[in-house]
Amino acid sequence: MAYTGWYFSITVCVIYLITATFNLSKVFFALDQFKMIILKILPVLLLIFILMVVTNYFVNPKTLTKYMGKNSGIKGWIIAIIAGIISTGPIYMWYPLLNDLQKQGMRTGLIATFLYNRAVKIPLLPMLIIYFGLTYSIVLLTSIIFVSVAQGIATEKIMEIIE
């Protein structure tokens, strides 16, 4: 894992170089976009760093297993749903923290449920209502929340079959 990330980034840079040989301006536009995204996610990155420090400090594997482990029951699902809904920023920003929690014993299905609920964006609810209406928005978000539990269980089952 130590170098895989760098190989991945280098591969993406090669894609940029190939694109630049055909269309240099597209690469400059993409780099502008990249800069904009980086500036936008910096506060989220800071929040995630703080959350990682807090979980490392206060949460030990025993506590985490109790609340989000294999036998956490309904409270584990509720925590995963609420955490997924209130978490901000792009989905990939949360991988480092989830990686930490996974190592400490967080249930796989709960990670999947957390990530699924990231589709519920409360701050963007007015925008969703403007585009698609109130009834649609409420039914959609409710469906996502309920289905997220089924998706978490399905992810676990598929992983068990693969293993």
């Binding site: 991945f8 597209k26 760093f49 699924y116 969703l128 998706q151 693969i162």
Partner: protein, 143 residues
């Protein structure tokens, strides 16, 4: 407060973020290139007006594309105005937020290959289920 434990927690968090750094940069670079490469107006051309095929196309499109959810609402609204079915548009909106083909390499390495593939596969399938549930629910409440 235990300062040694706090220092260890900060170091561990810093190391965790640093290890994830190249994946995050790679994913953001890919998303940036994709967002300037594909024109949003061309999405409508992909749909065929088929009630079964269109939700699948919406699901695939949402899985490949990534970025701010506001963009998905705008594109979804445009697709709806162009006459694309609500099930297809909903599958597109849900898969945009739940499936991440571009993020798959980073997710595979940070959270495990089996997990990333299983999660994205189930999220892909459940996007259509959510779309059907939503449209059925909306029709029920509107009538």
């Amino acid at each position: 407060m235990n300062t040694t434990k706090l220092k260890e927690s900060v170091q561990k968090a810093g190391k965790g973020l640093w290890n994830s750094f190249p994946y995050l940069i790679g994913v953001i670079l890919l998303i940036s290139l994709l967002s300037v490469s594909i024109s949003e107006s061309s999405f409508t051309l992909l749909f065929k007006g088929n009630l079964i095929l269109d939700p699948l196309i919406g699901d695939i499109l949402g899985s490949i594309l990534a970025g701010n959810p506001i963009t998905s609402y705008i594109v979804g609204g445009e697709l709806l105005n162009e006459g694309i079915s609500l099930v297809a548009v909903t599958a597109f909106l849900v898969s945009w937020g739940t499936v991440g083909i571009i993020q798959l390499p980073a997710e595979s390495i940070l959270l495990g290959k089996k997990f990333a593939i299983s999660r994205n596969f189930t999220a892909f399938i459940f996007s259509i289920i959510v779309a059907i549930l939503t449209v059925t629910g909306v029709n029920y409440f509107d009538n």
